[in-house]
Symmetry: C2
Subunit: 434 residues, 2 copies
């Protein structure tokens, strides 16, 4: 038995705002941050579970406080008891303490904190099994996988029986797709050239570098002044040419009618999708925008806070691309429910990658989706953001615009001890020099 003795939460922040990395119309100057959770165990081999939730700076201390408030629900429990019924564990952590549930429910700070803790449990489990998380999942039977999930509030759209049937459909051919991924990798796209705070010169330089590196799918931030958005779209199209894919991301800046009007002015640059055109809560608004803007696709999800919201986005035919966030949803269990819902409704999942540690998580999610859930790469692209990977013990590996299959055991976000020490807020050396 591996007992989780102590839940440690660290406030880790990177001063990315100094270079305007990650800048967009809504988020002018983010400091990419993590509420970083370590599950310390009593195991002789010193194994520990690592998870994080992503924030953009101030307020990270509130998520740390939330992990501390939840810690007693996990401390003292055996990993083996948890993994024997992961679905029950998930329900218990997210809803078992009704006093804490009140603060969401299943949204905002308390759900972010749950995500970091739940993902740390998956990391611990996968490390104990000696497998990367995608493989831990891919090796499960459909029945075992579905037992990890909670279908509460989505059973009108997807039952456990339907989920098992979806997984069985892909099961006989899983090994073929693993082999394909090992040979070709999983296709990605880059956001690194398109941040709003970058100069024309920097954009052009980054585009050329990205093309040289093999990227063929690019994303631009919009939602500032529309003439500037047009001007930046023109620059990007000039650089990447007509064949490459250009996505646009408004980061929630527009009301419904504004989104339609502005995208009509950007349509000449042939955008593949418009991401977060309006409030992430506006399911019916996204449906309206999608209907009026077709064939431009609508993408959203990085701020979609739980499976109930995604269920409705699918039911309302409100989106073309599902951009779930690995640490805003309530950890991997809820991510898997959304993957299954997306497969049922035929919507490709293109997870959110703009943050520290998110690419490290999402490679497992997208590869598992291909191997065992959707069985398809059609319309799928995995976001890649070229920041901060050097802080992870086993960072993502990119080759010619594709993610390589990760082999390190765990869920991928274990940071180097020196990086944690240097970026602990406010006393780490990175903040002392500021």
């Amino acid at each position: 038995m591996t007992i989780i003795q102590r839940v440690e939460a660290q406030d880790i922040r990177f001063p990315t705002s100094r270079e305007l990395d990650g800048s967009d119309a809504m988020n002018a100057a983010p400091d990419y941050s993590a509420t970083y959770v370590i599950l310390h165990t009593d195991a002789d081999d010193g194994i520990s579970g690592h998870g994080l939730t992503f924030t953009i700076g101030r307020g990270n201390e509130i998520c740390v406080a939330a992990v501390n408030s939840l810690a007693s629900r996990l401390e003292g429990r055996a990993l083996e008891e948890i993994t024997a019924d992961m679905g029950a564990f998930w329900r218990d952590l997210t809803s078992g303490d009704s006093q804490l549930r009140w603060l969401g429910p299943e949204k905002g700070v308390i759900h972010l904190a749950c995500a970091a803790m739940i993902n740390a449990v998956w990391d611990l489990w996968a490390k104990r099994e000696g497998k990367p998380v995608w493989q831990l999942l891919a090796d499960m039977t459909p029945e075992a996988l579905v037992q990890c999930l909670d279908f509460r509030f989505v059973s009108d759209a997807l039952t456990p029986e339907e989920a098992i049937a979806l997984l069985r459909r892909q099961a006989p051919t899983k090994a073929e797709r693993v082999a394909q991924l090992r040979e070709h990798g999983y296709p990605g796209y880059t956001t690194s050239a398109g941040w709003l705070g970058y100069s024309e010169e920097k954009m052009r330089k980054l585009c050329r570098e990205a093309l040289d590196e093999g990227w063929r799918h690019f994303k631009q931030k919009v939602g500032g002044d529309i003439e500037e958005d047009r001007s930046r779209a023109r620059i990007l199209r000039e650089e990447i040419g007509p064949e490459c894919t250009l996505m646009m991301d408004a980061n929630q800046m527009w009301d419904v009618d504004e989104a339609v009007a502005n995208m009509r002015r950007l349509a000449e640059f042939d955008p593949h999708w418009i991401e977060e055109p309006t409030s992430p809560d506006d399911i019916l608004g996204h449906a309206e925008i999608r209907h009026r803007l077709a064939p431009i696709g609508v993408a959203t999800g990085e701020h979609c806070h739980n499976r109930v919201m995604f269920k409705q986005l699918f039911q309302a035919e409100a989106l073309d691309f599902c951009q779930l966030d690995a640490a805003r949803l309530g950890g991997l269990n809820e991510v898997l429910v959304v993957l299954l819902l997306a497969a049922k409704y035929g919507i490709p999942v293109c997870p959110h990658g703009g943050g520290v540690g998110l690419c490290e998580y999402t490679q497992h999610i997208s590869m598992f989706d291909y191997i065992a859930v959707s069985g398809s790469l059609e319309g799928r692209l995995l976001e890649y953001v070229d920041h901060l990977h050097e802080h992870f013990e086993a960072p993502v590996q990119i080759h010619r615009g594709h993610y390589r299959v990760p082999d390190a055991p765990g869920y991928g976000v274990t940071m180097k001890a020196a990086s944690l020490a240097a970026h602990r807020y406010p006393d780490g050396s990175a903040w002392q020099s500021a």
Copy 2:
């Protein structure tokens, strides 16, 4: 000028779980709590603004942490500068710091904290004007009131111009409705007999007392074992007779199909509405339930986290009664947007009252709604919960099942200093004796 010098946040908790007051199927043992905010000013008269957000115990410390993280956005500002453009102030506090906005956006802990602070500003403003909040609002011109609001993400459903037109429609007859309220009060209903944790004997006793006090509208908690729910409904109907109104409240316990099946088994007791039949995020689910259960009404809102969600509940024809929460929505500014949306869509507003301080807030909201927004009492009932009022300096006054018009300046939630001291967690005397 009145300068807000310091924002103080206190962790105030009442040990209500000891008596199972407030118990329901989802929330078995709540300790009614408040993140209590005091805006200390430099004014010679010592005026201060008081606001709170409601939680049910554990996790209140996280909301306190969130207020502390937001405090610097308010400290040093002049009340007069804020009230000169309340709409801009609201946008700034809820979204002006994009790093903090990331934690919601506009939901969960960070929005609860905003609510406490924003309501404290309204309290300070009303005290400065020497008026109760309902009157401060009722005395404004339509244009001045609408300038207090932020229509971001709802302009597709309601424009500022439409809001002004709605208010103008009622303006000429405001004084008549004020006079009516002073004479008759605002109709209420009681939840006090129906908590899930109460014995049959206690329920019968409380019903009889409530009938004697003049109550004619009652609410029962359901969502436990269906046979027990039926048994308790039978007891309540026996006590209150066929003429009184009986509402039912499931506190989010059911999936969509379960809600329909269970309410069909409770229909014989003639429920007026089913409240929170499923996840508060499930707009389309509520629409489905409403369609299948008519003529039983559907009510929800105490966990509806912002105006964007209410907008969609109205657009999707998902509810018959809007139960907005004065401290889960982002304070009074956002409450007013929802009142106007509800008026446009013809949905009666029956605010959530089950908590400490909520009745003190909502009397202002419902009376202002009647005076200046909807102009109607049809279908409106204001929840009353018979707990903890003794801790407020100017508690609600009830007469024969009706709320009396409050006259004390402010927004109503200023607590007695002794009550604050005794219930400060964990060092207050109420917690020492536990």
